[in-house]
């Protein structure tokens, strides 16, 4: 018999959809914010998105060029390591499969880098085959700076800190290099379904 909290019943607001909720998460209707510092407000005239590192010819797009890329609209559930989950969030942006077209690399890992000096690391495998996007619209509106606008990563199958806000580029790495939260106690991979929140989970 496991531990029981005397007198605790719980609200069970989420039971109808409980199969969609990873362990330890609860459902919210609003959209909370998690970030380590103030919200950056980059200038779109000088904004670029680049792919660099283990790549023969690094790639770079300006904001206008980025908006001209083929875009997709996707609806996904998102899961924040601070325990909230939100269902059916709708985003518009560019799939990594599009961004990586023609790219040859020996890298197996990637580091996302953002305005505000934020980085997060992901296996390359987790960015491809329709698993990750750079998004610039949320629910049909331009992405608000608080939520990572002008553009952020969307990697919905991992905890949401892996979806770097204010994204400026991806570096292809041969070795795995822990990013910002990953060097600050948070898990290197971050699968919500295996509750990989912290080091050692």
């Amino acid at each position: 018999m496991g531990f029981i909290s005397r007198g605790f019943r719980g609200k069970r607001r989420d039971t109808a959809d409980s199969g969609r909720l990873p362990p330890g998460q609860y459902l919210v209707n609003d959209y909370p914010v998690l970030s380590a510092g103030p919200t950056p407000r980059p200038n779109l005239d000088t904004w670029t998105f680049s792919i660099e590192g283990e790549i023969d010819t690094p790639k770079k797009w300006t904001w206008q060029e980025f908006l001209a890329l083929p875009a997709e609209t996707v609806t996904k559930d998102i899961h924040c390591v601070t325990k909230w989950s939100k269902f059916d969030t709708t985003w518009k942006g560019v799939s990594f499969d599009t961004l990586f077209e023609g790219v040859e690399t020996a890298a197996e890992y990637t580091t996302q880098f953002s305005d505000g000096d934020y980085t997060t690391n992901l296996p390359l495998e987790d960015l491809v085959d329709g698993k990750a996007w750079i998004v610039y619209e949320y629910n049909g509106e331009p992405l608000h700076p608080e939520h990572g606008g002008p553009a952020r990563m969307l990697v919905p199958h991992l905890y949401f800190w892996k979806s770097a806000k204010w994204i400026r580029g991806v570096r292809l790495d041969k070795e795995q290099q822990p990013g910002f939260w990953e060097t600050n106690g948070y898990n290197n991979y971050g699968d919500p379904w295996r509750e990989q929140r912290y080091w050692g989970d």
């Binding site: 496991g2 531990f3 029981i4 909290s5 005397r6 007198g7 605790f8 019943r9 719980g10 609200k11 069970r12 362990p23 330890g24 998460q25 609860y26 919210v28 609003d30 959209y31 909370p32 914010v33 970030s35 380590a36 510092g37 103030p38 919200t39 950056p40 601070t82 325990k83 909230w84 499969d97 990586f100 077209e101 790219v103 040859e104 020996a106 197996e108 890992y109 000096d117 296996p123 390359l124 495998e125 987790d126 491809v128 608080e146 795995q176 910002f180 939260w181 990953e182 060097t183 600050n184 106690g185 898990n187 290197n188 991979y189 295996r194 929140r197 912290y198 080091w199 050692g200 989970d201």
Partner: protein, 273 residues
Amino acid sequence: MILGASSVTGEISLNPHEVRAFGVTSRGPLLWTQAELVELVHETPRVASLLFNVPDWPGHLPGQHVDIRLTAEDGYQAERSYSIASPPEERSVALTVERLDDGEVSPYLVGELRVGDKLELRGPIGGHFVWRAGDDRPLLLVAGGSGVVPLMAMLRHRAAASHKTSARLLFSSRTFADIIYREELDRLAAASDGLTIFHTLTRDTPQGWTGFTRRIDAAMIQQVAWPKEQTPAVFVCGPTPFVEAAADLLVGVGYDPLWVKTERFGATGASGG
């Protein structure tokens, strides 16, 4: 598209330098342990401090938090994060929780839980929003409502340290009665050891109130914040809208965004004006 075959791994290897940077030595998995409530202190009508005896507590840094997990008889569970209010110098772990009447976990912690009860807890968690007394930069703390909790761990740590950095706390509460830790803050400020505390009340002010009486704004930040030439260490904590506003104002007075560390309690932490 040709991409190298990658192997997904959840393993991490960290070099000793990074482990030291985190501040706590051994980094095995963070296991759930049963913590016993040994003392309950009512801070305000809606806020209580809970003192736990946590077996084998590894120690923590001011600013870190724990996760707590509640389990109902049928196995239903709820988890939430709570900042640690006690300084590293103390053996027991104190949390300070604001009761949200329609919330799931906080009304249990403030209302149901009694001395002698246990709950499951794991931590300490977080290596970014932390402060050590050895940091020489002037300290600026900005709190909205229960956002004062991790900042209180910093002030308590500072009070216990031999070398005391100059520090300022700007604390926004709704009413006088809602000021968490009011008497302890008064005592800390009265020590005249380089700590200045500024209160602002956003709803209601008592007769003779000499603090600010509005939401934080540019003029208030101008008046309270260290000049940017002093390159302060800044910690902002509270409900998300409060943190957004405060952090923007600090960048507005010329602070480098990298000096400003934020912790957002989410849309859920309702207080702070």
